[in-house]
């Protein structure tokens, strides 16, 4: 199988973006999805429940040490960095903020890229800062597939624009096309 994981980074406007993409993925979608959504430090697990109610896949907050497996969408817990270990399990940390964020998209993307190499898909969606740009660049460098939401149609263009200027990304797609695109990729695996 070519791709073994999808990482998604999203900030301002994320709720709408995620609820557009994730429900289009079928229940037997083989690639696990791992998401950093910037949230306020005191947020609870509302987002996971909200998305889980609307998706065919299981949406849960990532716990440390669990094995990343298909059928699941993992969300980084608020106020923790989410990291991927070489053995494809999660770690969490409360190290300093990166790009003013914890969880930081770069932290997830960089560690996932080390663990999955060219078997990783990285996606940057709407957001008001530039977190994720460095991570997406790493993914590309290691031969992974990079996708960015088309900035002109994004709720907030800053983050996708930053990602595009940092990396020669593979695909720039409008929000509605990202889900179907992933399905097509997965079918051809």
């Amino acid at each position: 199988m070519k791709y073994e994981a999808i990482v998604i980074g999203v900030s301002a406007g994320g709720l709408n973006a995620l609820k557009t993409i994730l429900p289009t993925l079928p229940h037997d979608f083989k690639i696990p999805v791992i998401i950093v959504q910037h949230e306020h430090a005191s947020s609870d697990d509302f987002l996971a429940h909200y998305l889980n109610d609307r998706c065919m896949l299981t949406v849960i907050q990532a716990d440390e040490k669990i094995k990343i497996s298909s059928g699941n969408v993992y969300l980084a817990p608020p106020n923790y960095h989410l990291l991927v270990e070489d053995d494809k399990t999660f770690s969490l940390s409360i190290d300093e903020h990166v790009n003013y964020a914890r969880p930081s998209i770069d932290v997830l993307f960089e560690t996932a890229s080390e663990a999955y190499g060219n078997k990783l898909i990285g996606i940057i969606l709407t957001g008001a800062n530039s977190d994720g740009s460095i991570g997406l660049k790493e993914i590309k460098k290691r031969g992974g597939l990079t996708i960015v939401q088309e900035p002109s149609k994004a709720e907030v263009a800053t983050m996708p624009s930053a990602a595009i200027s940092a990396t020669q990304v593979d695909y720039i797609l409008p929000l509605e096309e990202i889900g179907p695109f992933l399905c097509k990729l997965e079918e051809n695996l």
């Binding site: 716990d63 440390e64 040490k65 817990p77 923790y80 960095h81 990291l83 991927v84 270990e85 070489d86 770690s91 969490l92 940390s93 409360i94 190290d95 300093e96 903020h97 932290v107 960089e110 560690t111 080390e114 190499g117 290691r142």
Partner: protein
């Protein structure tokens, strides 16, 4: 795997081995991904070019190692982190501690002390502080000294005050510190029953018989092997009916000792130690 990553991983393994052999600090069973991020960060801060160069310098230069250790051991914390945790302590744990003649609390991996002072404040407001001793430990001496000083940036106090209110604080948060310029100093009466000490969870042994052990957001940095070792240490240091408090995203589920504990507050990750007859 990418050859470059493979080489770096070898260098990191050797680095951790060198630290252990030379200085006795054991990071070999820490979760690899955050260790690696810290090493990489230290590499750019210390203007070294390779991990092997860090290793070489660490062995021959004690001060360089001290800098490295400091960077390794500060994990960002805050006062009344996860206010609901303190609220549950206040509402459910305190009533069970109140009848005890003397209360011993071990705060393991207390870092710069913010959460230790939070607990002292809570106990003060419950009129239990006078008969409590808090042992606040961390493996790094300079971090422990910072905790002992109790000096924190003034600009954090607004957030801390908000946490304090949400945690069910009954007084005025400003009564617990004095401020000067951009810093605040925690008041002396909060420090009276706190013993700050150097203790390394990875290499040191049992600490004493405790009524409550608080170790939040420390185990997430360890691999399963070290987690089990530390949980055993906690179990051996708790008296029957004692409490073990972990971080919100930590649990005993994967631990060998899960059956010896009972979930006391599941969301806040507070466990009750049932006693040695459950082994």
């Amino acid at each position: 795997m990418d050859e470059n990553i493979e080489n770096q991983n070898i260098e990191i393994t050797l680095l951790l081995e060198a630290i252990y052999l030379k200085y006795g600090y054991d990071f070999r069973d820490y979760a690899k991904s955050s260790i690696k991020r810290r090493v990489m960060r230290f590499m750019s801060l210390s203007r070294t070019n390779t991990i092997s160069e860090i290793q070489h310098k660490l062995i021959y230069d004690k001060d360089f190692f001290k800098r490295f250790l400091l960077d390794f051991s500060i994990h960002v914390t805050e006062m009344f982190r996860d206010p609901s945790f303190y609220k549950i302590i206040k509402e459910k744990v305190i009533p069970l501690l109140r009848p005890l003649p003397f209360i011993k609390i071990w705060h393991a991996g207390c870092s710069t002390g913010e959460e230790v002072y939070s607990m002292a404040i809570l106990l003060k407001e419950e009129n239990l502080y006078e008969k409590t001793r808090i042992y606040a430990t961390d493996f790094n001496e300079s971090v422990i000294n910072k905790a002992k000083e109790g000096i924190y940036p003034l600009d954090k106090m607004k957030d801390y005050s908000y946490n304090y209110q949400k945690a069910g604080g009954t007084s005025d948060f400003e009564l617990y510190y004095t401020s000067s310029y951009e810093f605040v100093l925690m008041k002396k009466f909060l420090k009276e029953n706190i013993v700050f000490a150097d203790h390394n969870l990875a290499t040191d042994s049992i600490f004493g018989e405790m009524n409550m052990i608080i170790c939040r957001n420390v185990l997430i940095y360890f691999n399963k092997n070290l987690q089990n070792k530390v949980i055993k240490l906690f179990r051996d240091s708790l008296c029957e009916g004692g409490f073990l408090c972990l971080g919100t995203k930590e649990s005993l589920i994967f631990s060998k000792y899960v059956n010896e504990f009972e979930e006391f507050a599941s969301k806040e990750k507070i466990y009750l130690y049932k006693g040695s007859h459950y082994r």
